[in-house]
Symmetry: C2
Subunit: 565 residues, 2 copies
């Protein structure tokens, strides 16, 4: 039953004006996805708010971008860059500097709403090809000018903040093409600034475009799919929503070419080798600190959407959902593509927000012993060849039932698919009224999952008025991830940032990784040395010194590499 | 029809006497597998030999090991080592120095037959635990004493030759245990000197030993399985005969602990992370040059041998066998475990050696259009959960038939399984009469497979009296490997080594990797810089300088790391 809504907040529906901060920080300027009436009622209740609180939006973000800090680079430098890429591809205006100096973290969103945006590059450069990149790196290395590589700006870990000025190298303006598809090798040679949707569309239409026999898919669908670039997937070690089957970004790269101050690293297109430590893998996850990815050969997969099978279950407990998932991915019958289990709070909020929490479904679930704040939702898909997809679904269902689950048909999965890229658009609506949604995520082994989940959750919930939902959505035979979504109405940004810092401390204390697929950037850099251990961070720093002796590549603490030793 | 044998060479059946060279170089001192009559006839014919040539064995290998070079380490050093590991675990005798200073390459075999064994360590040390290793590394680093880590000595690339003396650290004497099995995480914590058969037996019996619910398998079965250690699999980037399903050694490692001169690297047991370049992966394939593996958490797999399905096909051509294999591993229906296709020469020799080349089977094959020196054998297995294994076999068969193959039932696969670890024992029999069997192997993409195969093969066959059989046996959606087996009777070892060098040149010229799964060692080190490119070898050297500033870890050109820059 949908709650009746007495008052409807005036969620913004206007496309932000050109040149404004909001046109930068809004996730996708042209897309909107507002909180439903149910969401709205929940926020009022959880945060002790009233309709009154939603009658006036907080100001911020609609001003035109104006920087206090002028570009620190001399005209001779600027002319040198113009000499390389042409006048049209060098931008010194304030808007470009802010736009290409910010990602999509909550921190950057709040900063832009407050016009606190002085840690930006001196100028933005749009290289046309790898030859441009080679010349730019050589020049910057000789002149000791910092280079921050901007893929498409979807990062959420402060990975492209220019603490020391320099240039933002924008890869998605020109270097955004599929160069070729090799059907024999089942690979695509692409440029790093290629956007997910363009890539996927080209692969889906490979017979028409490249004359292939089969259609293909990239297999990588992070929530940021619509606004992220292939280079970002690899450099920040992303993980797509179907990673359980297709692998993480790390796994779907065959070979790469990087321009570094120490020369060009071009690895070979050979799928299996025993020729020493794999430089191809060393470069992945380097977040712009070692060099600039200029070309990459990606593994691709046959695209057979008609074979997709959806499934959804309600488990009696979180423990049952975890145990069944583990059994599914350890069972050696093939892996589901999407697999996602929600903890009791996430399950309950999900039901509530779909209006299912006091209707027929809820009664039915209760009758079946699936009780509120115990039951857990699981959704998934099986892909690939028809018989195999069918078998994986059959086996997953068999296991789910063995662990007491009730089948929900694939409807819940379709619902999730519908919002998979768009739920995130709500963030702006909520921030307009001082409500924060932010996420933290971690990798974990099976035997540490409950301890980590409970430890972090109980800390988060110790703050009154904090919604904390958790799911696991990337599975491996050895473990999974935990993705925490936090919703709260803090006094101010600083209260939240301090709270978030304490949560990360808890994640590390309970043995999780600092990140499963968001990356490190500057946000999590302070934890790196302690997390990896001194011996391991020194390995990464030794590589940094080798590739980038002048420390021009994404300098300023990213990955914790140029912290003092 | 089996050939009648007029004369039976007196293949040796005696277990080599203790203390002799032969007791070291013989693949497994207690196992024998002699050439059949058919093999014997083939060698006579191909190499222009007569029974007369097999009446007298060449001498060599039966002498007791005596070194000309005395240990170069002072008594004070030796006493220091005794102080660390105890007197029983330090060996300075000639036999230990030769035994723990040699692997199983043809080169080392011939050298030992000729008593040319002076490039050996000064002494062998058998550490009892990782604390011993820490102390030994600290001492050697302070005193600049080379350390060569000896796993079990199965390597074939001169990876443990002591060009500069120093110590051999023998991991398989004491550090050879399964420490624990974690069923929840589906991992085993093991020591690096653990031998394959001991590991597999422990996992198969996990319910009895560790109280697990399921039985497990390690998933890694190289031809050297019976004589190799887990540490060697990882450090030399091995690949097992079922790698198409289970992955290469690189893939089945969750975390590791290394002792290096720069400190202890202990990576975390987390299956997915986005915390920068993965130090866990950087260490793999380092062949003893960065540090000493002292503990490793391996991924393990459910052991369900009853579900195994075998299949075998005869394809009309090599091209058909390649195309079908590609379709099988790109088809998204799950992967076979073993998959192996033999080129026409390997197929023909295989049939001949089994006596099938002029019998009913051969007639039947010819009638079906499967002609000698065109037809190609394929064998394989499907493993895992029952329904999945059945489905993989069904799909593989369907594809094979589409490419014109005839099914041979699983008999051929069983035959292959029978000899999978033992065919290699023939090497000594043949060397006793001056016949060489050696192998070279390379990784390749699908689109370069035929060019590489034909290019290398035509060069090899340009030498009269050279048998060259080739198979592909490790498959990826992006490509496979090519494994060349060479049989010839050269004038002497040097003629062969020069020939082999030229073949490697051809492999590189035609775009293959220097190695797919044997590793680099000192044998292929001279090709490394050209193969990887200067920029990449410099990355590996930068890591070398970081981990091992005094160049004590497996020094002397291994991996091409301490060649002059």
């Amino acid at each position: 039953m949908k709650p009746r809504q007495s008052f409807q907040p005036a969620w913004r529906e206007d496309i932000p004006a050109d040149g404004t901060y909001r046109s930068i920080f809004k996730y996708d300027p042209k897309k909107f996805s507002h909180p439903s009436a149910a969401w709205y009622e929940m926020f009022k209740k959880e945060f002790g708010m009233t309709d009154e609180d939603f009658k006036k939006r907080r100001p911020g973000g609609d001003e035109r971008v104006v920087l206090q800090r002028k570009p620190g680079l001399s005209d001779s430098h600027i002319n040198a860059f113009i000499g390389i890429v042409g006048k049209d591809n060098v931008a010194t205006d304030d808007y470009s500097r802010v736009r290409y100096g910010h990602g999509k973290s909550l921190d950057e969103d709040l900063a832009m709403r407050n016009k606190a945006t002085d840690r930006v590059p001196d100028l933005a450069i749009h290289p046309r090809n790898k030859e441009d990149v080679v010349k730019i790196v050589a020049y910057c290395n000789a002149q000791k000018i910092p280079i921050i590589t901007y893929g498409a700006g979807s990062g959420v870990v402060l990975g492209i903040r220019s603490d020391q000025g320099g240039i933002a190298l924008v890869m998605s303006t020109h270097m955004n093409k599929v160069i070729s598809v090799n059907e024999n090798n089942q690979t695509a040679l692409v440029q790093p600034g290629l956007m997910g949707p363009d890539y996927e569309a080209a692969l889906n239409r490979a017979p028409e475009i490249y004359g292939t026999t089969h259609r293909y898919t990239c297999g990588h669908f992070p929530q940021s799919f619509e606004i992220a670039s292939v280079g970002g997937w690899i450099l920040a070690l992303g993980s797509g929503q179907a990673s359980t089957y297709y692998g993480d970004a790390y796994d779907i790269v065959l070979s790469q070419e990087y321009v570094t101050p120490a020369g060009i690293i071009k690895t070979r297109d050979i799928p299996g080798t025993a020729t020493g430590p794999k430089v191809n893998d060393i470069m992945k996850g380097s977040e712009g600190t070692y060099g600039i990815l200029v070309e990459v050969t990606m593994k691709i997969f046959r695209y057979m959407p008609d074979n997709r099978r959806r499934f959804a279950f309600m488990f009696p407990t979180w423990e049952a959902a975890v145990n069944a998932s583990r059994e599914i991915v350890q069972g050696e019958f093939g892996l589901p593509a999407v697999l996602r289990i929600s903890d009791p709070e996430e399950t309950e909020i999900g039901l509530k927000l779909k209006g299912f929490n006091d209707g027929v479904l809820d009664k039915f679930l209760r009758l079946r012993g699936l009780k509120p704040m115990e039951r857990c939702l699981c959704i998934g898909t099986a892909e690939g060849e028809k018989g195999s997809a069918k078998h994986v679904k059959k086996m997953a269902s068999k296991i789910a039932h063995r662990f007491g689950a009730m089948s929900l048909t694939g409807y819940a999965t379709k619902q999730w698919e519908h919002g998979r890229y768009s739920d995130v658009h709500m963030r702006e609506d909520l921030l307009d009224y001082g409500i924060i949604i932010d996420t933290l995520e971690t990798g974990v082994t099976w035997d540490n999952l409950h301890r980590l989940h409970q430890g972090v959750r109980s800390f988060v919930k110790s703050r009154p008025g904090t919604i904390c939902t958790t799911h696991a959505s990337h599975f491996y035979p050895q473990g999974t991830n935990l993705y925490f979504i936090l919703m709260l109405k803090p006094k101010d940004g600083n209260e939240f940032f301090e709270f978030r810092k304490q949560i990360v401390d808890k994640i590390v204390e309970y043995g999780g990784s600092i990140s499963h697929h968001h990356g490190i950037g500057r946000m999590f850099a302070p934890w790196m040395e302690n997390y990896l251990g001194k011996e391991q961070i020194q390995v990464l720093r030794a590589l940094k010194r080798h590739f980038d002796p002048n420390n021009i590549m994404n300098p300023g603490k990213t990955l914790g590499l140029d912290s003092k030793e």
